[in-house]
């Protein structure tokens, strides 16, 4: 063992942390006291309403002794003599000093300090700053606001509240939630900001999607959800690099600082309790057709002879069969059998509520209790929260337990030691696959043929074959079977904590030292019972164990000096960051299965079928940094920062990188007399650079193990060529803004414009495979983002009984690829459903390209731009998207608008948050698949049915409306029944009225010379004789992406809450300090432009190894209308 590892080995960081934390907790009982002889009492009241103010600090000046006022505002204490001076202080009020004199009763009226309210924000490294002095834009959400409605992931509560922040919940409760600040600017990462909880940077990779078994993708939720919303005091969002430069490497996407609750200064011991329950009531589903049985042809009884019955079989996995609810009879899959074993025909009846019957109301209950208190020496808060949640899909759940301890102790006049510990477990007995085909129970529920009743599938084992064979048609999965017998459990234990010492060395000089740890371990276990259709060998089993440790040691030395008009704060510090990730996984490889059914153990997998893997990843970054804050007369504030990092992931000569930042805040209201109505007018600007290293082991490749061929080993080289001399990436940003407050703070404005240049990104570019490598790592490119954020807030109403606060934020971001590597024309984000999200150099990120329809290109032809029908299948012909540049959309929104309003009347308050995303498109694989198998109502509704017109009349009518029905898009003429315009088509002697045709032309000559129109000959395909009529079942244009591309615009009511604070007269009787009750709803989709029953927000999905924007694939939990109740009590 090498010497330098000794420290690391000998001292277990967790042990240290827990021990220190407990020491502080135990010392809570220690109290200090002195003998004093003159008794003073009195009442502290507010100058506004004359009511007593509880919790006011009353301190004897110079002695550091004191008390706080009780619930009525009364206090009493003893002082040494008449010269004693009492200092009364309370947040939001101006502090007062009062000489005791010969009085024994000292009553005090405190005046509100409007300016002081909400002015202090936590910035980088936990430094508290007055907001007015900041030269950059920050977003703030206080704990009460973040916690107004129950959320399983704290990030959800930020939706719509902070300008420039996009939150995407990628699935149902417990799934990953993405947060992107000021748009995605990195091509190779997930663009998530850095999260810092009480000074502890915590790990939050977005990608926690994994798969055991075939097509069983499960989103286990990203680790930020371990943060307990009930513990949060405030959240600060540092948006640009200028605000975040001090956090280095990971701060390029912004920083989210979370401060957890501590006892308020001078709080007597108090107990607070909150209980929060929300019911998610499903109400809106996919628009699937419910009128047709499973089948390929929409037969009618006329197609069958007397006494002959059609067979309606799920083997024909499509929804273009016989019409339901018409009194037709058929032999169905579940038809009973007669004595001879022959199935008896039954009536074809629809079951329109199948999916509704399958899902259940989701319930989430969160209960929290916390004890807190403080005095001059110690301050503590101990909390416990538990959450129990059941999902919309039967058997899906998510549970959490969380303990927190927040404490500080003033060891003496100059030394304060504090510690925060958050420990918890998040687990689930089953996380269903909600984002792909295969084991997704919702997909299976939607696939149950409309002529079968899903309730008949509840007993999901085939009779007499329990544990062996599910009850379902062949090649189908019973949704109840999937929900109950494909079990994806996990549990994650996590501890986040720190110990911090603040030492005041002299009046001007202070030192902070901190040791912090974020450690979690996650176990995932998947058990798949026999007969899941994609696991042919007794089901499947997988077990994975991962752990992540991040350890930070940092110190900061601060020197503060007031030189009359000039103020100066200079700090210098250092940080050592160590991260270590471990992963171990054993599973039956996809399709390989188990030896014996229903035994879930790694040893029940035969050695050749076992898929195994382990990995270790370590990284260290050492940093030093400096900060200088200069101010002049409260009117100019200048910040300068500098940081240098040394990263283990880069080669020695590239390892060190330096980056500075600066920002300036000018307060015009302080400099000039702007009149009494202007409370603040600030101009601000900032510039910053942030450096970024790369991931560990990204310089030199190792051989991969490609598995065994019998006894032989198959090592293989990596087809991605690594670059040993990678340079650090650099993001450079500018921002400028204005902030203003008018009319006694009742009108507030803020505007920011920013740009960000991302240079030298570590990218993988594609290279020809013949060079040995299909991808090369390079340092290249210039990605440029720019955007603006506007905030408008006001208090239109404020008097004794009423107050109304409203604010709106609006933001827009655009990111362009200005430059990539030499010879590289574009960057591809994804390729799905025949579309490709590609961004060409010089263009905006998010563009979506589709195959191009083959149309008449001859501008002189009467059929100009008509589709040319043909190919092997007599349908639309496609020029693949790879061979053409046919832009059809962009996955990014045009702008995001958030609105919040809080209306208070006496003890009632009404709060709401709206979120409007305008613009953008997404590709829906759900729609594509369900239309291909003819189960989409939308496609059916879009079929053209011109009131029984036929032949020449039909052709003439189509040509009259050619722009609407022939050119521009994908149109079909026909339907599924005669009444709805279905055209007769002949199938093996049966004439069925489910035919359609594509309005267009057939090219009979000249196709081989695309540039020569002279020899082109076209024949109309517009309904006259000779028109190619095909069955409806093959009507969907599978070769194109655009038919399943939808607008992503939506408006959501993120929160709506009505709260009532019980009057003190009432609560006093119950010996309760305060009591609040509220009812609320959240995340209600009010409107989507796509109108297909899909939540466009969910079009943000894991695509092989990373989340991508603009793709939706069976991520189709029904829309819900939540109803929640919350109760808060403080004793």
């Amino acid at each position: 063992m090498k010497q330098k590892y000794i420290f690391q080995q000998k001292v277990n960081p967790l042990f240290t942390l827990v021990t220190l934390g407990l020491m502080i907790a135990f010392s809570l009982s220690v109290q200090a006291g002195d003998n004093l002889d003159k008794s003073i009492s009195g009442k502290v009241t507010s100058s506004v309403d004359g009511e007593g103010i509880p919790g006011v600090n009353v301190v004897i000046k110079g002695v550091q002794e004191g008390t706080i006022t009780d619930i009525e505002g009364n206090y009493s204490l003893s002082v040494a003599d008449e010269t004693a001076v009492l200092v009364f202080s309370f947040v939001g009020y101006n502090a007062q000093e009062v000489v005791v004199g010969n009085r024994s009763v000292v009553d005090v009226k405190m005046t509100e300090n409007v300016e002081q309210l909400n002015e202090v924000v936590v910035t980088a490294l936990g430094i508290k700053r007055e907001e007015r002095s900041l030269g950059f834009s920050v977003g703030r959400v206080d704990g009460a606001e973040a916690n107004r409605v129950a959320q399983d992931n704290v990030l959800n509560s930020l939706s719509g509240k902070v300008a420039g922040v996009t939150i995407n919940q990628t699935g149902g409760a417990g799934s990953s939630v993405s947060m992107v600040i000021r748009g995605a600017s990195s091509l190779s990462t997930d663009n998530q900001p850095l999260f810092v909880v009480d000074g502890v940077p915590i790990t939050n990779g977005l990608n926690n999607v994994a798969e055991f078994g075939s097509q069983n993708n499960v989103d286990y939720g990203n680790a930020i959800s371990d943060i307990n919303p009930d513990n949060i005091e405030s959240i600060t969002v540092l948006k640009g690099p200028s605000a975040a430069a001090l956090y280095g490497t990971r701060a390029g996407n912004g920083v989210v600082l979370i401060t957890t609750k501590t006892a308020a200064k001078g709080d007597k011991a108090k107990v607070s309790f909150s209980s929060n329950t929300v019911f998610d009531v499903p109400f809106k589903f996919l628009k699937t057709q419910k009128k047709f049985a499973t089948g390929y042809f929409s037969y009618t009884p006329d197609n069958f002879g007397p006494g002959e019955f059609p067979v309606v079989t799920p083997a024909e996995a499509a929804g273009a069969g016989m019409e339901l609810d018409r009194g037709y009879y058929a032999i169905q899959w579940d038809s009973p059998r007669d004595a001879n074993g022959n199935q008896i025909p039954t009536e074809l009846v629809s079951h329109p509520n199948n999916v509704k019957d399958f899902v259940q109301t989701g319930i989430n209950t969160t209960n929290s209790v916390a004890v807190s208190g403080s005095n001059e020496i110690i301050n503590y808060r101990i909390g416990y929260t538990n959450m129990r949640s059941r999902g919309l899909i039967p058997n899906a759940d998510l549970l959490k337990d969380n303990f927190s301890l927040n404490s500080s102790i003033k060891a003496n006049k100059s030394l304060t030691i504090s510690s925060t510990i958050n420990a918890g477990r998040t687990w689930s007995n089953n996380r269903p696959n909600t984002g792909n085909r295969g084991s997704n129970p919702l997909e299976a529920a939607y696939k149950i043929p409309q002529n079968l009743d899903i309730n008949d599938f509840k007993n999901y084992w085939a009779p007499g074959q329990e544990g062996v064979q599910q009850y379902a048609p062949e090649n189908y999965n019973n949704p109840y079977f999937l929900a109950n017998e494909v079990k994806n459990g996990f549990s994650r234990d996590r501890i986040i904590g720190n110990v911090k010492a603040d030492l005041k060395i002299t009046e001007d000089l202070s030192l902070m030292g901190r040791y912090s740890v974020d450690y979690y371990t996650e176990v995932r276990e998947t058990k798949i019972s026999p007969s899941y259709t994609r696991e042919p060998n007794n089901g499947a089993y997988g077990l994975a164990n991962s752990s992540n440790l991040e350890k930070n040691i940092d110190f900061l030395l601060t020197y503060t000096k007031d030189l009359g008009d000039f103020g100066l704060v200079v700090s210098g510090g250092g940080n050592s960051r160590y991260t270590k990730g471990k992963y171990l996984s054993n599973s039956s490889g996809s399709g390989n299965g188990l030896i014996v059914p229903n035994v879930y153990s790694v040893s029940n997998i035969s050695s050749g079928a076992l898929s195994f893997n382990s990995s270790l990843s370590e990284r260290v970054i050492y940093s030093v940094y400096g900060i200088a804050n200069l101010s002049y007369k409260n009117f100019i504030y200048l910040d300068l920062t500098a940081r240098n990092d040394w990263s283990s992931t880069l080669r020695a000569n590239e390892r060190s990188y330096y980056y500075p930042s600066t920002s300036l805040s000018l307060l015009l209201d302080e400099a000039f007399d702007l009149g009494g109505n202007v409370d603040m007018l600030k101009l601000r600007g900032g510039w910053a650079k942030v450096g970024n290293d790369t991931s560990p082991y990204n310089l030199n490749a190792v051989y991969n193990n490609g598995g065994q061929w019998g006894d032989a080993t198959m090592l293989t080289y990596s087809t991605t060529r690594l670059l040993p001399n990678l340079r650090p990436e650099t993001a450079t940003s500018w921002e400028a803004g204005v902030e203003a407050k008018f009319l006694g703070n009742r009108l507030r404005l803020e505007g920011t414009y920013y740009t960000l240049d991302n240079v030298d990104q570590v990218l993988q570019i594609s290279t020809p495979g013949s060079s040995k490598y299909t991808a090369n790592n390079i340092n290249a490119g210039l990605i440029q983002s720019s955007g603006w954020e506007l905030m408008l807030g006001g208090t239109p109403l404020k008097n004794n009984d009423w107050s109304w606060d409203v604010s709106m934020n609006l933001s827009r971001n655009r990111t362009k690829i200005i430059e990539l590597a030499e010879g590289v024309e574009f960057y591809e984000f994804w390729s799905e459903a025949k579309s490709r999200a590609r961004t060409y150099v010089g263009e905006t990120i998010g563009d979506i390209y589709d195959a191009k329809m083959v149309v008449v290109e001859d501008p002189n032809s009467p059929y100009y731009q008509y589709p040319i029908i043909g190919g092997g299948d007599s349908e639309w012909q496609a020029i693949q998207s790879a061979d053409t540049r046919n832009k059809v959309g962009n996955f990014n929104p045009d702008f995001i608008l958030g609105m919040q309003s809080t209306l208070a009347w006496k003890n009632f308050s009404l709060s709401m948050t709206l979120d409007w995303r305008k613009g953008g498109q997404y590709q829906s694989q759900t729609y594509r698949y369900s239309t291909e198998d003819a189960s989409s109502q939308i496609w059916l509704d879009n079929a053209i049915n011109p009131n029984g017109l036929e032949g020449a009349e039909l052709s003439a009518w189509l040509k009259e409306n050619e722009d609407q029905y022939i050119r521009n898009g994908f149109h079909i003429v026909g339907g599924l029944t005669k009444e709805t315009g279905g055209l007769p088509e002949n199938f093996s002697g049966k004439v069925v009225n489910d035919g359609y045709f594509i309005p267009g032309v057939v090219q009979t000559a000249g196709a081989d010379t695309p540039n020569d129109f002279e020899d082109d000959v076209y024949v109309e395909n517009l309904g006259e004789s000779g028109t190619l009529v095909l069955p409806y079942i093959v009507s969907y244009p599978w070769d194109f992406g655009a038919p399943s591309l939808f607008d992503a615009d939506f408006i959501k009511l993120r929160e709506l809450s009505i709260g009532y604070r019980l009057p003190t007269t009432f609560t006093n009787k119950l010996k309760i300090q305060s009591a609040n009750v509220s009812v609320y709803t959240r995340n209600v989709i009010i409107w989507t432009k796509g109108k297909n029953g899909i939540d466009p927000e969910r079009a943000f999905q894991n695509n092989s190894s990373r989340f991508v924007q603009g793709v939706e694939r069976y991520n189709v939990e029904p829309w819900v209308f939540p109803i929640g109740v919350k109760l808060n009590l403080t004793f």
Binding site: I6, K413, S648, P696, S771
Partner: protein, 551 residues
């Protein structure tokens, strides 16, 4: 006093913490998760190369090329199988270059370590896979390929096909020398890693020379002089140039069958799609009828008999029922079917092949009751059930066989380049029977009409085409060279001719643009290019330019 001490303690403590926790940053970034290529035994790459080549040959020859060569047809998702609906994004070559990349690593390390056996195997496999690439695509990166560790070669130039072939001949000559020693003379042979010949240099030597025969014969029309000289040289000196003449020496790789990636393709055992991969493939009438004509017993090895034969009931009207395993259908319904699809009903009771690309919806073939894409049509011959297994005696990747070598020699002899064509022809058939485990039926077969040697190239190629079952790539290259067997395209095809190559992959057009364009310019456009640019499966590569073949 106390305070000061306290302060000093804290400051010192913090500094110490930082210092002691310092780690060696270089050491920390050494990847612990896999072996360093610098010091890894090159033999550990050998099985990767051999299995890669083996599975590629089967994936091609039991996949779409079996469709092209009309061994099989698919009745679901059959566009690229039945109808050549290929484009530049259909068939990439990165997988082949990946095999070559591993092979190059193995060769260079072996060379440095003096492992001559592994070097010999490396040269054979280099020739084998580059040969396959040039067979499939024509000109291709060769001399500058796989040098991407040097930025200057990130975009390798394409070499002309004849230069690649000359390189192959030279490498095989070197391999023949490297592999000429007895086992004990080599310093290191890892038998386990050689999943084809278990470390036998003499067998690898035969493989090398047999492979050279394959490529000399490839030139029989384009450059008959080289072909004749090369073949005569090898056949004339069997001591220096031993070749594979008996099925025992076939270069076969057994499938393991332990998991989906080391199992015979489209098996039932590990199919996560419920067996649909296997079910979609049906026997093609061209092969079935050709073999039935010769009463070929191998058909029973490869194909399944039709599950439910059909009989036409001439007397009834609109009746259709299955009795005792036979479906009786009335004439009027058969007429409807034949009118709808334009092909006759096949009422054979043993084997029913599906005519190539004859239906727009092939799942409806022969009055199938099941129109699904993974069709369970009982009125057509499926592939033999032994191919649903994950591994088995007959489930081998056959990289080169005695049958092939003998047919090559038969053709050479027919051309008058070497000895007795009939002997080679008979030996080819016998080797094929033995390879499929029915050597005892060989004698009877030789008495069937049309089997006895008739001194035509058509007959030799016909037998070679039959024997290439599940390995149809080789017969595609023969077809391209000879136009034999005389295959007809079906109605529902992209172009009305059998394609002669794969499209150059889009990746190269994107990422190796100027070199790919130069190679494409060297292709010869034909009338079947249609709307394709020069990069087409119907553009002729060098090896058939000016030969008037295959169509």
């Amino acid at each position: 006093m106390y305070f000061i001490k306290n302060k000093i303690l804290i400051v010192v403590g913090l500094m110490l913490t930082m210092v002691f926790s310092c780690k060696d940053l270089d050491e920390l970034n050494i990847n612990p998760n896999g072996p360093d290529p610098e010091d890894t035994d090159p033999y550990l790459l050998m099985a990767t190369v051999l299995s890669g080549a083996g599975t590629s040959v089967v994936n091609l020859g039991y996949g779409d090329l079996a469709g092209v060569m009309q061994h099989t047809q698919k009745d679901g998702w059959g566009g690229s199988h039945n109808s050549y609906e290929w484009t530049s994004s259909s068939q990439g070559w990165n997988g082949y270059y990946r095999i070559l990349g591993n092979n190059q690593d193995m060769f260079l390390k072996s060379e440095a370590l003096g492992y001559e056996f592994a070097m010999g195997v490396g040269l054979v496999m280099k020739s084998y896979v580059f040969g396959l690439i040039t067979d499939l695509y024509g000109d291709a990166p060769y001399s500058e390929a796989l040098l991407g560790d040097d930025d200057a070669y990130r975009e390798p130039k394409f070499d002309r096909q004849q230069d690649i072939l000359n390189g192959i001949f030279a490498d095989l000559e070197t391999a023949n020398t490297l592999l000429s020693k007895s086992v004990s003379e080599y310093n290191y042979i890892n038998k386990t890693q050689d999943i084809i010949y278990e470390g036998s240099p003499s067998k690898w030597r035969k493989f090398a020379n047999s492979l050279a025969l394959r490529y000399y014969m490839r030139l029989s029309v384009k450059d008959p002089g080289t072909a004749q000289t090369g073949i005569a040289k090898i056949v004339g000196d069997p001591t220096t140039y031993p070749i594979i003449t008996s099925a025992n020496d076939d270069a076969n790789m057994d499938y393991v069958g332990a998991n989906s990636s080391n199992s015979w393709p489209k098996n039932y055992v590990f199919d996560t799609g419920g067996g649909s991969d296997f079910r979609r493939v049906k026997m093609c009438a061209t092969l079935v009828d050709a073999m039935k004509l010769l009463n070929d017993p191998r058909l029973d090895q490869w194909a399944a008999r039709v599950e439910i034969p059909i009989e036409v009931n001439e007397d009834e009207n609109s009746t259709d029922e299955i009795t005792d395993g036979i479906r009786y259908v009335s004439r009027n319904l058969v007429d409807d079917y034949e009118a709808d699809f334009g092909i006759p009903l096949n009422t054979s009771t043993d084997f029913v092949g599906m005519p190539p690309a004859a239906l727009q919806t092939p799942s409806a073939f022969n009055m199938s009751p099941d129109l699904n894409q993974a069709s369970t049509n009982p009125h057509v011959s499926w592939v033999n059930a032994q191919f649903t297994e994950a591994s088995g005696d007959n489930l081998k990747a056959r990289l080169i066989t005695a049958a092939e070598v003998n047919f090559i020699l038969a053709e050479a002899a027919l051309n008058g380049w070497i000895g007795n064509a009939e002997e080679y022809y008979n030996a080819g058939i016998q080797a094929s029977f033995e390879a499929w485990g029915i050597g005892d039926e060989y004698d009877d077969y030789m008495t069937e009409t049309g089997v006895a040697y008739d001194a035509t190239q058509a007959q030799i190629i016909n037998q070679k085409w039959i024997s290439s079952w599940a390995h149809a790539a080789e017969s595609w290259f023969d077809y391209r060279r000879t136009g034999l067997p005389d295959l007809q395209t079906g109605q529902w095809v992209k172009r009305d001719a059998i394609p002669v190559k794969f499209y150059y992959p889009l990746d190269e057009e994107f990422y190796n643009q100027s070199n790919a364009e130069a190679a494409i310019a060297n292709l010869e456009k034909t009338t079947f290019n249609g709307a394709d640019p020069q990069n087409s499966a119907w553009s002729k590569p060098w090896i058939i330019q000016g030969t008037g073949k295959p169509w």
